[in-house]
């Protein structure tokens, strides 16, 4: 179990930005887009076979030539004052038969290996990114839920644009759960003494289980990261790249039964939670809407417990 370095870059005042797949691939798209836009160069990788079943075998004329695994690569980019390390994991470790997100010993080992690199290059901070499943409509701009791994970062986050803390979400009370490695890494970072912040882009609750990316949320995360890290981002290029996804989401939305769609449309009027002065719905109507959406989302789901 280890890390291979192809080169040993000299870095200063470094921030690490980490992305794994998740709901709508929100974090992964945001971080990988930033990596590509900055022209970051690969300098190392974590051996995959300890964590993953191979994706592909190449057998030619009876000879096993190669085995392809999900990659876990490190990239770096130097700037005048601050340097960046990116880590992009193509898959979260863990059995797909139990969960599509990392959990248990393997996830903990993976988190520690990533942080070993952060320690080696004296990173002062780690950012992760993921999805925040929210009662919003897909025509609305996604906000970014930001969760730090230490109380002292809360004031800083309050200064980020289009960003809220867990305590600002209705019913959240400042608590919640960040699934998978995007969350776990920050916990392990806290244990090891790194500052860390998870930036989660909002995805409408009715899109969370679909095989679509949700670039609108990735864009919101990118906007925050761009400002915080003082990196200019070409959003025209980003919008062009994902315009077909927006169209697919619209097509899906039109296929939703009209009675359910009417309910979902109310999310547009409802707006974001906690905007109490603008709230057009009562608490009871919000609950009713949520029940109806939940019913719609449950349609077609079947338990997998075997009957004896």
């Amino acid at each position: 179990m280890g890390i291979k370095f192809h080169e040993e870059p000299r870095l200063k005042n470094t921030v690490m930005i980490v992305g794994w797949p998740g709901i709508g691939n929100i974090g992964l798209i945001a971080i990988d887009t930033l990596r590509q836009m900055t022209g970051a160069e690969e300098f190392g990788e974590i051996d995959s076979w300890d964590f993953f079943y191979p994706r592909k075998v190449i057998i030619k004329s009876g000879i096993l030539e190669d085995m392809k695994f999900p990659t876990n690569k490190f990239y770096y980019k130097t700037f005048e004052n601050n340097d960046l390390i990116f880590f992009i994991g193509e898959e979260q470790p863990g059995s797909k038969s139990t969960s599509s997100y990392a959990e248990g010993e393997e996830a903990y080992q993976m988190a520690n290996l990533v942080l070993d690199v952060a320690e080696r290059f004296e990173c002062r901070r780690v950012y992760t990114s993921g999805a925040a499943v929210a009662l919003i409509h897909h025509t609305m701009k996604s906000r970014v839920w930001a969760t730090p791994n230490t109380e002292k970062l809360i004031e800083e986050i309050k200064g980020y644009q289009n960003t809220i803390l867990m305590s600002e979400i209705e019913g959240g009370g400042g608590g919640g759960f960040i699934t998978g490695l995007n969350g776990l890494l920050l916990g392990v970072a806290r244990k090891r003494g790194f500052e860390g912040i998870c930036l989660m882009g909002e995805i409408p609750v009715y899109l969370q289980g679909l095989p679509f990316h949700y670039p609108k949320a990735s864009k919101s995360v990118l906007e925050v990261l761009g400002k915080v890290l003082k990196i200019g981002i070409d959003f025209n290029q980003f919008d062009e790249l994902y315009k077909n996804v927006e169209k697919n989401i619209e097509d899906f939305y039109r296929q939703i039964p009209s009675n359910v769609r009417d309910q979902l449309d109310k999310l547009k009027e409802f707006g974001y939670f906690k905007q109490t002065e603008l709230r057009p719905m009562t608490e009871n109507s919000r609950k009713k809407l949520w029940e109806e959406i939940s019913e719609f989302l449950k349609t077609g789901e079947k338990g997998d417990e075997k009957a004896l």
């Binding site: 994706r55 190449i58 096993l64």
Partner: protein, 268 residues
């Protein structure tokens, strides 16, 4: 703390060959081949791998009306210098599991070569001669098998556990060969005695095992007679198999229908 290996006894092994069969296999090839080897060569279990960490302990599967439990066991033959590994496919920590198997056979059994037996779905008809496809993990090892009539497999896609094992073995410098026995797609869910015999015949020839395979000839005759009977009873089955015999392929719907009819006929 529990040991990963539970050694039951210490057989005297010189330079044995390792044959591996996974318990779930297309056409039931590997389990049947291993069962016949175990019976013919008077084998004894000598080691188990502890399932914790590799299999779910959240409950148990029930199959054929009784409880199943993951098994990963090593057997040795008293009559031949042969080690057999029969196992369920691990659910977790595949790389660690496969390395553990190789750790054990390398250090305890002094294995130099490994062989895996596997069934492979094919679109051909059961009345055609079966072929054995091969995957080697190094060209030199392949060279030494020129005279055995094995066909080199070509495949780019999802790897089977046997291919993963061969890759791990290659990294450790252990030569490996996976034998892939063709199984007509409509026999994949039952048992293909013809391919079972072909695999055993290969092992007989390669390792001078002298296993008596006459009983399998009877099974093959029964298998073919059963299919003929179904062809007489069901015009659709006869039509589909007739298409295959004339070199045509079946569409997906016809393939599923034929497979279901055969399954019902064999498993009742």
């Amino acid at each position: 703390m529990k040991k990963p290996f539970e050694l039951i006894n210490h057989p005297k092994l010189k330079n044995p060959t390792l044959i591996i069969g996974w318990k779930e296999d297309t056409g039931n090839i590997a389990p049947k081949v291993i069962d016949i080897i175990n019976k013919e060569l008077d084998v004894q279990k000598f080691c188990d791998i502890d399932p914790v960490g590799y299999f779910s302990m959240a409950g148990v599967d029930v199959d054929d009306d009784y409880v199943q439990f993951p098994e990963s066991s090593f057997y040795y033959s008293k009559r031949r210098d042969l080690v057999i590994f029969k196992s369920d496919q691990p659910v977790f920590n595949h790389y660690i599991f496969l390395n553990s198997v190789l750790d054990f056979v390398e250090s305890f059994c002094r294995i130099k070569e490994i062989y895996t037996i596997n069934g492979m779905i094919s679109s051909f008809v059961h009345t055609s001669p079966r072929r054995i496809f091969s995957v080697f993990n190094n060209p030199e090892f392949q060279e030494s098998y020129q005279s055995y009539g094995l066909e080199g497999l070509n495949w780019e896609g999802a790897p089977a556990i046997s291919s993963f094992l061969l890759w791990v073995a290659k990294r450790r410098g252990i030569s490996g060969l996976s034998l892939w026995l063709e199984v007509p797609f409509y026999l994949a869910e039952v048992e293909d005695s013809e391919s079972v015999k072909l695999a055993l015949s290969f092992l007989n020839q390669r390792f001078n095992l002298n296993m008596d395979l006459d009983e399998l000839d009877l099974k093959i005759r029964e298998q073919n007679e059963k299919i003929e009977l179904l062809r007489e009873e069901k015009a659709e089955v006869n039509k589909y198999i007739g298409f295959l015999e004339s070199g045509m392929t079946l569409d997906e719907e016809a393939q599923i229908k034929l497979t279901k009819e055969i399954y019902r006929h064999f498993k009742g």
